[in-house]
């Protein structure tokens, strides 16, 4: 019997490890490296109604124990994602969490309505926290009333449970978490990247063409842990935690703070096999902690 399987709204997870949206494309590239069926779930790249070209390059810059990115939600658009990318992923025994983005409420609603009907999409992740696009994204996720309204609108049309991805770029993340719960969210994913900037050593100008980018990687982990810890106390719905996870201990930390599962982002670029490696390392970690099932550690920092 598995010691690391978990049940979340819409999701039967073989294990709590999933690659985070934006860090794994639509799985095709990593499928050349290992069997995607090994993963708990896959959070696919943000999907918008129309094709998005994204931001100018350079789009990434390294920082101390982290990186900045400003990709700008580049994706082939809803139709291609459904007909090509999700079809490709049907070849694997792994639930898909579709990250839904848009410019207007009506975009989110339309993408959610359609993509939630795909047979392998078991949950949606509502992207109200991307810091790298001018319209859509973060402005939906920084005002509690707007976040609640959008969640309710998407929830009304979705055929699968809806998770909302929260931004750390707010004064009080708990207010937003409560708002999306009130809007009917089935779960929360957190955190998205922190808005940051790196200047070029010689020119003094921002390295990233967009000026600012979203900071991710081990550097943001303490911020993410604190936010998961605070939100866990304030809401009843489950949290999928993310932010700087690179190994099994990081997973234990997030789950101790209150996450029911986790997503791995930037680490996929550093060790392309990090997700299967963590999955393999988890049972030994449970032995170290003296627990028989991974669910026993969820929220243990609060007990």
């Amino acid at each position: 019997m598995s010691r690391i399987n978990l049940e979340l709204p819409g999701l039967s997870l073989k294990n709590p490890i999933m690659p985070a949206s934006g860090c794994f494309g639509f799985g095709r590239e990593y499928a050349q490296l290992y069997d995607l069926s090994k993963l708990g779930a896959i959070m696919i790249k943000a999907t918008t109604l129309e094709t998005r070209a994204g931001n100018p390059t350079p789009r990434v810059a390294e920082t101390a124990a982290g990186m900045l990115n400003a990709i700008g939600l580049q994706n082939p658009g809803l139709e291609k994602v459904m007909n090509e990318e999700l079809k490709f992923l049907e070849g694997y025994d792994v639930p898909i969490i579709a990250n839904v983005a848009g410019t207007e409420v009506s975009d989110y609603v339309e993408v959610a309505r359609q993509i939630s009907t795909a047979p392998n999409v078991k949950a949606l992740e509502l992207n109200i926290s991307c810091p790298n696009v001018k319209c859509g994204g973060i402005q939906f996720g920084t005002d509690p009333a707007t976040a609640q309204e959008l969640t309710a609108a998407v929830k009304a049309v979705s055929s699968v449970p809806v998770y909302v991805k929260l931004s750390p770029n707010v004064t009080n993340v708990v207010d937003i978490a409560k708002a999306v719960e009130a809007g009917g969210a089935d779960g929360i994913t957190m955190i998205n990247t922190l808005v940051g900037m790196r200047l070029h050593e010689k020119t003094g100008k921002p390295v990233i063409a967009n000026g600012t980018g979203g900071l991710s990687g081990p550097a943001v982990k303490p911020v993410a842990i604190r936010m998961v810890y605070d939100v866990y106390k304030a809401v009843e719905i489950p949290i999928i935690g993310m932010g700087g996870i690179t190994n099994a201990q990081d997973v234990i930390d997030f789950m101790s703070a209150g996450a029911s599962a986790v997503a791995v982002g930037t680490a996929n670029f550093v060790d392309h096999f990090v997700c299967p490696n963590i999955i393999d390392a988890l049972p030994a970690k449970l032995d170290e902690l003296g627990v028989s099932h991974i669910s026993e550690i969820i929220g243990r920092s609060h007990r």
């Binding site: 494309g25 789009r59 990434v60 124990a65 990687g217 670029f269 550093v270 060790d271 392309h272």
Partner: protein, 257 residues
Amino acid sequence: MIQSERMTVVRQAKIAHNIFELVLQGELVQDMTPGQFVHVKVSDTLEPLLRRPISIADVNKQDSQFTMIYRAEGRGTEVLSLAATGQKVDVLGPLGHGFPVEAVPTGGTALLVGGGIGVPPLHELSKQLNARGVRTIHVLGFQSENVTFYEEEFSKLGDTYYVTVDGTKGTKGFVTTLLDELKPEFDAFYCCGPLPMLKAMENAYPEKEGYLSFEERMGCGIGACFACVCQTTDQVEKDYVKVCSDGPVFPKGVVQL
């Protein structure tokens, strides 16, 4: 096939100002073609975090060894320059699509033009072109004499010309300055260097077949993160390409310069 391997350092040497030659041994060498690159984790710690894309300068399949030549200009490459013989280096590769060596028929002539740290991949390309019976002409541009390298290696393979911005070695100016004088006869050109060089080559030889190798800041190196995209000239069929997985080498005219 892309592999992840802890490769062994066979030799490391400083061959010019801030320029290092590193020879690594391991199984993934067997799959390498000229113009491809590897993604190197320079440290086992989280700092520096990201991998470094580095081109392949020489492949020795018999000994399962390859050579990379890189400039130590930031923290990552500085750490890599400290790797000593016997040490293990975490390498992912080979990655991307390289130069088509079959583009020039046996008995034909290829013009190889490189700039700075864009020069190394041309060495393995030249070796393989020569092995196919193709004559190679090398035009290599650098800032200054103190950062030039591999003169002997390239000279063994074909006519080799150096161009430096400050005139301390070879012709003073840019590669196009020399090419205007030289007026070489060739069947196809291959170019790896800074964007202005790629653009100049594309403009200089509109009638010729040509292949350009691009560089862009990368995240994953395998095509998943969309960090290194370039706009294409054909905005109908495909509006962008990824340097890491669709490239780094593209036929002339594909990428918007």
